[in-house]
Symmetry: C2
Subunit: 191 residues, 2 copies
């Protein structure tokens, strides 16, 4: 198939269904909101997850590191929660742009934070192989987006997640850009 | 007050309400289940949280690291979920020992895993100062323990969590001890 890598050069990728060289949702985040430990491409200590559309679903693949364990052989629950959380807020942003008929690199930027996160741990999650997260957009209503996610390993669902994401309030976006530092304006995540 | 540090030496700690030298719940975990990224004292890359009874509540204090951010100044949601998760499973274990009238260093060991986790993010969580988690045991029923938790910063509740923890199935405990490696026995977290 024909696709474009991040530098925009045309490439022919043989034998692959999807073009892995395309930009992820997180690659479109403005620099000043790209330091999240879970999904910020500029956080060198972080997980740096990457999410993409695959038809109507958003997909993320992540290889746990050897120290992300719960007991030997299995992933700890906090990583699973983190992956579901950040993949869902990224999907919420992508879905909001899509609903507005806008590309993800157009202004004003749309960035989402988590209002609530629910995870059901269905079975132990093996640590050796990549995990696949698949999200569906359940609802877009005003500034809120509801996302349902499965996390699978070796083709088996190991966890299911439900996230309500909310568009980041303008005062928090401004704070992250250093435009003001008035603490009284920082209270109240959900306007 | 008089208390004992981990080496058992008697110490006189003046001007403190609580003896911080006492052992945490996690210090009682057997070595072979002490590698969890969130709460294992033997995971050198991990968070190594410590939880203690404070009357009927279980308390954990954690100082986020500078890179645990969502946007500059605030903690990312995955860390909050991880702290609530691991503090809750530790509290579940401590509550189960207490309900059986047993000390936490007696056999057989009781170790809990997470069946479900719910987090409501109430307000942005500042990253500069220690976070305090306070958990209450809502119910102990068979192998399940339900825990409610608040996570606060600067005296304000920033997140609320609900965890259902389940006593770790024997086959998983045996797996972590390397007693067998039969994958067919590893399916099904909640027996």
């Amino acid at each position: 198939m024909l696709c474009y890598n991040e530098a925009g050069a045309e490439r022919l990728i043989k034998g692959e269904d999807r073009c892995m060289a395309r930009k992820a949702f997180q690659d479109y985040y403005p620099d000043d909101v790209s330091y999240c430990y879970g999904c910020g491409r500029l956080n060198e200590h972080g997980l740096q997850i990457k999410s993409y559309w695959d038809g109507e679903e958003a997909v993320c693949t992540f290889q746990p590191r050897s120290y992300h364990l719960a007991i030997p052989g299995y992933v700890y629950g906090g990583l699973i929660a983190s992956l579901i959380d950040c993949h869902s807020t990224g999907t919420a942003a992508a879905a909001a742009y899509r609903a507005q008929g806008r590309a993800m690199d157009t202004d004003p930027p749309l960035r989402f934070v988590t209002a609530s996160l629910h995870v059901d741990y269905v079975r132990p999650t093996p640590i050796e192989e990549p995990l696949e997260l698949r999200s569906q957009v359940k609802e877009i209503k005003g500034r809120k987006v509801a996302i349902s996610t499965t996390l699978s390993a070796r083709g088996e669902v190991c966890a299911r997640g439900e996230v309500v994401a909310v568009q980041m309030p303008d005062h928090l976006l401004r704070t992250s850009r250093g435009e003001h530092k008035n603490p009284s304006e920082q209270a109240g995540l959900i306007a």
